[in-house]
Amino acid sequence: MSFKNILENWSAFRKDAEAGGHHKYDHRWGMAINLDVCTGCNACSTACYAENNLAVVGKDRFEKGQAMHWMRIERYWDDADRQFPERGASFLPMMCQQCGAATCEPVCPVAATYHTPDGLNAQVYNRCIGSRYCSNNCPFRVRYFNFYSYYETWAEPLNQQLNPDISVRDKGVMEKCTFCVQRIRASNDKAKMENRAIADGEVQTACAQACPTGAIVFGDTMDPNSAVNKLWAKHEVKRGDYLSKKPKVNAEKRGYRIFEELNVDPSVMYLERVREEI
């Protein structure tokens, strides 16, 4: 350590929210989820279980509220007061929004969750001591805690299905959606080996890959040609500070980010659900 280092980089170290914090992003992975074609079929959720070694908690623990679905489909009734829900149900795929100014990060006493150069909220399982403050401070409530040693519940030979690319979490550790970081890293390395940039669509999260209606689009929002970036641009959703941002040119564009007013800068854009008047 050297104070010289600190003094030299002082300005960099002091770069704050308006300047996007201390970051030189090389990617910013993001999503666009089209709620108009999301049918709430749960394919994404199950794909997530298969990809990320999620624990099945069983009926009693589910009842206690200790279930571990990183990707969950929330179902709301907008016509609960009418005689019939005549506009169907409202389905919302909800996973970690990988916020640009995540509220979970600063509160972790041991910095087990931090911001990666490709714009993800990394959760370092090995560093986590389970204070669970991050979950308390997450407006989306998408962080899941290992209340038990769930790996003990994988009956032989179910455990042979576990994905060796990522760890199986032990009790006392917080976990959450990682945007399938193991896939991102794999493609990263591959691209490096062939020294080229990652092509758009080369990395697919498990949920995006499974989604039968293609409602979930995943990609690098910094890559101007990526499908996801085009969608963000088309629907006039910009990253960054809510307050300093200009309003949409066309307010009717469908893109929005949930709890935008909290200014956490989520990496997931949702497209409004459309309904015909019959």
Binding site: V37, T39, G40, C41, N42, A43, S45, T46, A47, Y49, A50, V56, V57, G58, K59, F62, E63, A67, H69, R72, I73, E74, R75, Y76, W77, D78, A80, R82, Q83, F84, E86, R87, G88, A89, S90, F91, L92, A155, E156, P157, L158, Q160, Q161, P164, Q209, A210, P212, T213, G214, A215, N250, E252, Y270, E272, R273, V274, R275, E276, E277, I278
Partner: protein, 736 residues
């Protein structure tokens, strides 16, 4: 890892295609583990084969068998273990997509409750036995059997498996192959055959601008959900199509509807005729309307229809108008309509709408049938089980082979399948799990999982492109004492006709020979059969020559639809609703699918009884209370789920639970509505009218928290799922 063995030679054989298939999938490079006699041979990693890269996965193409839709899949294999299934982009059916059941395919494979060795009944109990003994026993028992005293009951099968079943039966001179599927579209197919001259018309949702679906849960459980989902995505894009769902209980598809219309259960057909009448009256009907038809429609004017169906007259008019404005349209009928006692007539009425709206040839196209008739899909409904049970009960069966099916669980209670099977002389059950049917067998032959087995599949609904899709092992079998279905069938054949089948020492050889000799297969590509064969396995699907039919439209069969009778003792109609996930109950042993909530009610790990708040108020029931649902056939008890997505006259109990056997995850969980179905048979098709049972509901003084996902049913003023009217959508991006 201790569970499974790798026979090195076999594995290298697999790797041959693996190496090639990666070129296609373009994801990873091949790898392997070397396991000798189940002991991990660590040395192998010090001196790996030149193609081995530890820690890198290989993708193999195969076919999903979680339901009968026949989606193409890619399976990721690493260190010799199948880890993850994804859709195969080459497959016309699912275009690289999968549903939740497909994702859970690996759990059917790694399920801890699989059968690991043959069982034989000795002194009333099933005892472990070796394959030799088991097959010898079968040989003895079947030696004398012949003719129609031999039957084979299976689920929907196709491809070479169907051929083999057929051949086995032929050796007995039997024609009795019964196909039993709880979730089916048989009535729809029958009607399509009679009115269009094509049992399996292609439905072009991507072309349609509006879809009127009478309870057809095409996003969930109807025919080919993933295929329809991919089509639905196109349907919703660009000039966004309009989806109107008419059904007594909200299905997954209903959840996505622009307009969800609750109709009095059993009267969908009347509503269809009402709309038809409205079309004709307003002169919107395309083409010439026969006089006879006019007569039929005459009495279905708005007022009468509104009374019968509970759908307001102006609503019916708006729906009619919507269909006209958003042409071309597409009108579908699903389980609730097909399952009525008047199912055939009701579906005919629905099909009539397609004709009147001029959808035939527009959004409904003739099927392109797979050229090889023997390999076409044998899809059936509940009729198969019904006939089988009748024969069995009448002691008309000496030998019964049962595969790909679990009739003792799936058959409606009134068939008394268990007792019926007791009257069958000798029962051979080929299955993967210790299910209810296996428990009744004399010999149980444990099969490979879909991930270990060979096979070919021809989808019943192929989306207009005739393909043969290949199922190949993603990994070596977990249990050495299990065998592939094809191999078993072959050995049965060898027992009967040793000479003809001597050439094939296993199903793989049989398949390769048979496929390589198929004209279409070798038509393209080089003449080297091995290369062509390997190319096929890389691709996973084979486009074949198709016989495209022509429509012969006929409205003569359209008749008046009988109204449903009211009943004082049993005031409600029972809807045994199917659900994507547990399906008909075959996936109840998958922890993932049990824990993955029902899409509409969000309930997990159990059964529930859906009812409308009005009904609930009448009964003094709130969500979580236990209720008893009683029909003439019996009763069941479960917790109530009260929500307004169901018609007040209907009571819905989902399929999938209520297993007596079937392993630790399924056993003793929930109830099976099929147990209390009334013996109502749809006259014209002979299918069980599953939605025609009337029940009464009584509240039990027992209540508990209904275990479900999520708390608030409303968004509580937050902007979580925001909805905009389609007019706005059209302004901004509709033209895109």
């Amino acid at each position: 890892m201790s569970g499974f063995k790798v026979n090195r030679r076999d594995f290298l054989r697999v790797l041959g295609w693996g190496g090639a298939s990666t070129a296609l999938v373009g994801c990873d490079m091949p790898t392997t583990v070397t396991l000798e006699e189940g002991k991990e041979d660590v040395v192998a990693y010090f001196m790996p084969e030149e193609y081995v890269i530890p820690g890198v996965g290989v993708w193999y193409a195969s076919t999903c068998t979680q339901c009968a839709a026949g989606c193409g899949i890619h399976g990721r294999v690493r260190e010799g273990r199948a880890l993850k299934l994804e859709g195969n982009p080459e497959s016309v059916i699912n275009r690289g997509k999968t549903c939740m059941m497909g994702q859970a395919g690996v759990q059917a494979h790694y399920n801890p409750d699989r059968l690991t060795q043959p069982l034989m009944r000795e002194g009333g109990a099933l005892k472990p036995a070796s394959w030799e003994v088991a097959l010898k026993k079968i040989a003895e028992k079947t030696a004398s059997a012949n003719g129609d005293r031999v039957a084979w009951l299976s689920g929907a099968v196709s491809g070479h498996q169907a051929v083999l079943i057929n051949d086995v039966l032929n050796t007995f001179g039997s024609k009795q192959h019964f196909v039993h599927e709880t979730i089916h579209a048989s009535v729809w197919q029958a009607v399509a055959r009679d009115m269009l001259g094509d049992a399996q018309p292609v439905l072009r949702m991507d072309k349609a601008k509006s879809i009127l679906s009478f309870g057809a849960d095409f996003l969930g459980t109807w025919q080919s959900p993933v295929h329809f989902a991919t089509q639905y995505a196109k349907f919703r894009s660009g000039k966004r199509g309009v989806l109107i769902q008419v059904e007594p209980k909200m299905s997954l598809t209903g959840g996505s509807a622009d307009a969800w219309v609750a109709v009095r259960p059993g009267t969908e057909g009347i509503l269809a005729l009402g709309i038809a009448q409205n079309l004709v009256k307003r002169g919107w009907a395309k083409g010439e309307v026969p006089a006879k038809l006019k007569e039929v429609l005459a009495k279905y004017e708005l007022g009468m229809v509104a009374n019968a169906t509970g759908v307001a007259g102006d609503r019916i008019q708006r729906i009619t108008a919507a269909l006209k404005d958003h042409a071309p349209s597409l009108v579908l009928a699903g389980a609730p309509v097909e399952g009525g006692e008047n199912g055939y007539d009701a579906v005919s009425a629905v099909m009539l709408l397609n004709i009147l709206l001029g959808n035939i040839g527009q959004t409904i196209e003739p099927a392109a049938q797979f050229a090889e008739a023997r390999m076409q899909a044998r899809s059936g409904g509940t009729r198969g089980a019904l006939e089988f049970s009748k024969l069995a009960a009448a002691k008309k069966l000496d030998v019964a082979f049962i595969s790909h099916a679990n009739p003792v669980y799936h058959a409606p209670g009134f068939m008394k399948m268990k007792d019926a099977m007791a009257n069958v002389g000798f029962k051979v059950v080929m299955t993967q799990f210790p299910d209810e049917t296996a428990m009744q067998a004399d010999v149980v032959l444990p099969l490979y999982s879909a991930i270990e087995d060979w096979g070919t599949h021809v989808a019943a609904y192929n989306g207009g492109v005739a393909t043969l899709s290949f199922q190949q092992p993603l990994m070596e079998p977990l249990y050495k004492d299990t065998r592939g279905f094809g191999d078993v069938a072959l050995s049965l054949l060898k027992q009967r006709k040793p000479k003809e089948y001597a050439a094939f020492n296993d199903y793989y050889a049989y398949l390769k020979a048979s496929v390589s000799n198929m004209p279409a297969a070798v038509a393209k590509g080089d003449k080297n059969k091995d290369a062509a064969w390997n190319a096929l396995l890389q691709k996973g699907v084979l486009e074949t020559k198709a016989t495209v039919g022509k429509f012969k439209v006929n409205t003569a069969t359209v008749a008046a639809v009988a109204d449903v009778s009211a009943d004082v003792q049993f005031p409600y109609r029972l809807l045994p609703s199917a659900r994507l996930g547990l399906w008909d109950g075959r996936h109840a042993n998958s922890p993932w699918l049990q824990e993955s909530p029902d899409q509409i009610s969000k309930v997990v790990w159990g059964s529930w009884v859906e009812m409308h708040p009005v009904t609930a108020a009448k009964l003094g029931v709130k969500s979580g209370d236990y209720v008893r649902v009683t029909s003439a056939q019996g009763s069941l008890e479960a917790q109530a789920y009260v929500f307004n997505g169901i018609h007040p006259e209907a009571i819905a109990v989902p399929l999938g639970q209520g297993h007596q056997e079937y392993g630790r995850y399924a056993k003793g969980l929930g109830v099976n509505p099929y147990a209390i179905l009334n013996p109502v048979i749809e006259k014209k098709t002979g299918e069980v009218a599953a939605y025609a049972t009337r029940v009464s509901v009584t509240k039990l003084d027992k209540s508990a928290r209904l275990v479900h996902m999520g708390s608030s049913d409303t968004q509580m003023g937050r902007k979580l799922v925001s909805t905009i009217p389609a007019t706005v959508y059209r302004r901004t991006e509709g033209e895109a």
